[in-house]
Amino acid sequence: MITLVVIFLLMLLLKTSAFFPFANPEKGTSFALGFILIFAFLFGKRINRIKLPQITGFILAGILCGPFILKFLSADQVSDLQLFDGLALSLIALTAGGEMAFGRLKAQIRSISALVIFQTLIIIPGFLVFGFLGRKFFPFFSDLTIVQTAAVSLLLGTLATATSPATTIAIITETKSKGKYTDLVLSVAVVKDFIVIVLFALFISLSKPVFSPDQGFDARFFFQILREVGGSVLLGIVVGGGIILYLRYIRREMTVFVLSVAFFTYQISHSYGYHPLLICLVAGFIVENFSPHGDRFIQAIGKTSLPVYVVFFAISGASLDLDALRSSWVLALICVFWRTVLKFFGTYAGASLAKEERGVRLYSWAGFISQAGVSLGLAILVEKTFPEWQGVFLSLVLAIIAINQIIGPVLLQKLLIRVQEVGKKQLSLY
C-alpha cells in the first residue's frame, strides 16, 4: 500500500507546474508507461484482495490515470502506446492459440459448436427485436427507417456476440485455471471471433445500400473482409510453421524471437489490413498441435505474460472513452443487460442441445461477457463506413465495451471459482 501511495503522490508532484520548465513533454510516453505499469500492477494487487481479478484492477487503474480522469496519460500518449498494445495483444493471442490443444477440442467439439451457433442465433435476432422496440424510446433508432433499424441492429447484434479471447486467456492465466469449463469458454471465445468477423463482413455489405440507396449490394466489403480473414489464417499457418522451424533448429534467444514474432505480425497486419489476433491465434494453434515444441513455446511467452497483461489491460482501460459512456450510458446499460440475458439463453440452449451438464447450462454464460479488441476494431470500421452516423453508433459500442470489459473479467473469475477449476493456491485466495 505504501508503494502505491508514494508512487501516486510522486507522479502528482512531478506533474505539477513547478517541474514544467525542466520537462520535455514530447518524451513523456516512457514516463507514463513506467508509471502505469507499476501503478496498475499495484492497483491490481489491491483489487485482488477484495477477491476481484487483477486485470479488473489494471483496467480501472488505466481508466483512473487515463485522459478522462487524472490525465497522467494524455490522449496522445495513449495513442503512442498503441504499438505496445498491439504487441501485447499478439503475445496474448499466441498464448490463447497455444492453449487450444486439438485433443481437448475434439472431446468438446459438439458443445463448442452448439454454444457458438446458439449464441449467434439468439443474440443477433435478439438485437433485431431490441432495435425495433428501441425505436419508440431512443432518438438514435427513432430517426431511422425500419430497414435501416434492422441494418443497425444486425451490426450491433454481431458485435454483441463477440467475446474477448484476450480477457479470457488473461483470467485463465491469472487464476491458473484448468478443466472442462476453462477449455470450453476459451474455445468458444476464439471460434466466435472468426464467426463474428465473417458475419460482420456480410452485414456491413448488406447495410451499405440501405443507407445509400443509389448504391447496390456492395460485395466489396464482404470479399475484402473474407480476404482479410483468409489471409490472416494463411499467414498464421506460415508464422506457426516458421516458429516450429525456429524451435527445431535454432532455439536461442526465445524471448527476442517471440517479441519479434509479435512485432512483425503487428507490422504485417498493420500494413496489409490483416488481423493480428487471428494470425497469432492460428500460429499458436499450429505450434501446439503440429509440433512437439508447444510447451516450450508457451513457456517462453509465459515468462513475460504478467507485464504483458498489465500493459495491455492498463492501456485498454486508458483507451476506454468515458465521454462516450457519459453521453450514452442509459442505452449502453440497457444493451449490456439485454446482451447478458441473450447470452444466458444462447448458452443455455446450446448447452442443452449438446447435452451438457446442469452447471454448463446455467453458469457458463458468465464466461462470455467480456469484450475488447475485435468489437472495438469492427465498431471503428462501421464508423468509417457510415460517417453520416456522426459517431453515435461508435459511442454506443464504446460505452457497451467499457461496461462489459469491467464486469466481464469479474464474472468469468467467479464462474471459474464456482466450478472449482482455479488453481489450488488461487482458490485459497478467493
Partner: protein
C-alpha cells in the same frame, strides 16, 4: 513483404549467432562483435529509414519507451553490482587508481577534442562545442568487462593483472555516469541562462533522491516472499518509471537507474533470486535496444568525422596507456603497471553505446547527431580490435607473470 524479409534476416542472424557463439579456444574480432551484440546495430541500421524503413521514424517514436527501458536496464544492472560487501574486497588503492585513470582520460580527451572540434566546426556556438567535447571526454572513461569475461579462457594465469583489469573495467563506468549526471544537471537542455548553479544543484539532488526513494520502495515491495513473475513486474515497472522520469526531465537515465540499482542492491536479500531474472531479461532487452539504436542512427561518415574518430580513439588510448607508470608511483601500487596494461581498457561494450545514446537523446542538436555517429563508429572499431589488443597486453603480461 519487407517485414517478412526483415524477419527472415533476424532469424538468419540468430541462426548465425547460435553457430558462432559457442565456446572457442580463441577469441577473434568477428566472434567478439557477435558475442557483444554490436552486430545488431547494423541490423537496426538496415531496418531503419535508410534501409528497409520497417523501423520508420513513426515506429521508432512509438518504440522510444523501449530505448528508455534499455538505458534504465543497463544503468540498473550496472548499479546492482555495487554491493558494499562485494566492493569491500578491493583495496582503496584500486579505487583510487580507477578514479585517477578516469579523471585523466576524461581531461585528456576533453582537451584534445575541444581543440579539434573548434578547428573543424568554427561556426558553431562555443557552448555547444564545449558540450560535444565534454561528451567525448565522458564517453572515453567508459569501458566494459565483457571482453575480459569472454576471453577468460585465453588468460593463462588469471593473476593480479586480470583481477585488477576486471575490477577497473567494471568500476570505470561509475565515474563516467557520475560525470554524466553532473553534466545533465548543470547543462540542462533546454539550456538555462540564469541561476545555473541553483537549478543544477536542485536537479542533481532530485535525480539522486528520487531513485534512492524508488530503490527503497522496490526493496519494500519485494521484502516478503514474492513470486518470480511479480518481481519481474516490479523490476520492469521501477526501471521503466525511473528511466522514463529521467528521460522526461532530460536527466540521465543511466545515472538515476544506477542509483536505484545501488540502493536496492544494498538493501535486498534476494540477489540469488534476482540475478537469474536480470540475466534472462538482459540479453533480449539488450538486443532490442541495439537494434533500435541502429535504426535511430543517422549514419554519417566523411573526412571530418574520420579525423574526429582518430582524435577520439587516439587520445583515449593515450589516456589509458601513458600515465600508468606515474599512477603506480603516486599511489605506491604494490606491483608494476606497465604501459601495455593500458590496452586492456579499450573495449567500450554496451555501456558505451548506452552512454552515447543517452547524450544524443538529451541534447538534440546537429552536433550531437555527429557525435553519435563518431561514438558508434569508434565503439565498433574499438571493440573489433580489442580482442587483439587484449592478446598483446593482458595475455602477454599474464604469461610473463606466470613465467
Amino acid at each position: 513483404m519487407k517485414a517478412i524479409y526483415a524477419f527472415g534476416l533476424l532469424i538468419l542472424l540468430a541462426f548465425l549467432g547460435s553457430r558462432l557463439i559457442v565456446r572457442r579456444k580463441t577469441l577473434s574480432p568477428l566472434h567478439f562483435i557477435f558475442l557483444s551484440g554490436l552486430l545488431y546495430i547494423f541490423l537496426g541500421l538496415y531496418l531503419g529509414k535508410h534501409g528497409l524503413n520497417i523501423l520508420s521514424p513513426q515506429v521508432l517514436d512509438a518504440l522510444t519507451p523501449l530505448i528508455s527501458l534499455g538505458l534504465g536496464w543497463i544503468g540498473f544492472l550496472f548499479g546492482f553490482q555495487f554491493e558494499a560487501k562485494y566492493l569491500r574486497r578491493f583495496s582503496k588503492k584500486s579505487f583510487a587508481l580507477s578514479l585517477l585513470q578516469s579523471t585523466f582520460v576524461f581531461f585528456l580527451v576533453f582537451a584534445v577534442l575541444f581543440i579539434v572540434v573548434r578547428k573543424l566546426y568554427p561556426g558553431q556556438p562555443h557552448h555547444l562545442l564545449y558540450g560535444m567535447a565534454l561528451s567525448f571526454g565522458l564517453l572515453a572513461t567508459v569501458n566494459s568487462p565483457t571482453l575480459l569475461n569472454a576471453a577468460s579462457f585465453a588468460l593463462p594465469s588469471r593473476g593480479e593483472y586480470s583481477y585488477l583489469a576486471r575490477f577497473l573495467t567494471s568500476v570505470s563506468g561509475f565515474w563516467g555516469i557520475m560525470g554524466l549526471a553532473v553534466l545533465f544537471s548543470f547543462w540542462h537542455f533546454p539550456f538555462f541562462d540564469s541561476q545555473i548553479i541553483l537549478v543544477g544543484s536542485v536537479l542533481l539532488l532530485v535525480s539522486t533522491v528520487v531513485p534512492i526513494m524508488l530503490g527503497y520502495l522496490f526493496y519494500l515491495s519485494t521484502k516478503k516472499k514474492t513470486p518470480e513473475q511479480d518481481v519481474l513486474v516490479y523490476l520492469l515497472g521501477f526501471v521503466f518509471f525511473v528511466s522514463g522520469a529521467a528521460f522526461y526531465f532530460n536527466m540521465s537515465p543511466l545515472y538515476v537507474s544506477m542509483v536505484m540499482g545501488i540502493t536496492f542492491s544494498n538493501l535486498t536479500r534476494i540477489h540469488e533470486k534476482l540475478y537469474p531474472l536480470l540475466l534472462a531479461a538482459e540479453k533480449p532487452l539488450y538486443i532490442v535496444f541495439l537494434i533500435l539504436i541502429g535504426a535511430l542512427w543517422e549514419f554519417k561518415f566523411d573526412l571530418t568525422i574520420a579525423l574526429l574518430i582518430l582524435a577520439f580513439l587516439g587520445s583515449r588510448a593515450l589516456g589509458y596507456v601513458s600515465p600508468l607508470t606515474s599512477f603506480r608511483f603516486l599511489l605506491r601500487f604494490p606491483f608494476p603497471l606497465p604501459l601495455l596494461f593500458g590496452f586492456s581498457f579499450l573495449s567500450f561494450g554496451g555501456i558505451g553505446v548506452a552512454f552515447a545514446v543517452s547524450l544524443k537523446l538529451t541534447y538534440q542538436t546537429d552536433l550531437m547527431e555527429i557525435f553519435l555517429s563518431i561514438a558508434l563508429i569508434s565503439i565498433i572499431v574499438s571493440d573489433f580490435f580489442s580482442p587483439w589488443l587484449l592478446k598483446v597486453s593482458l595475455v602477454k603480461l599474464e604469461s610473463e607473470e606466470r613465467s
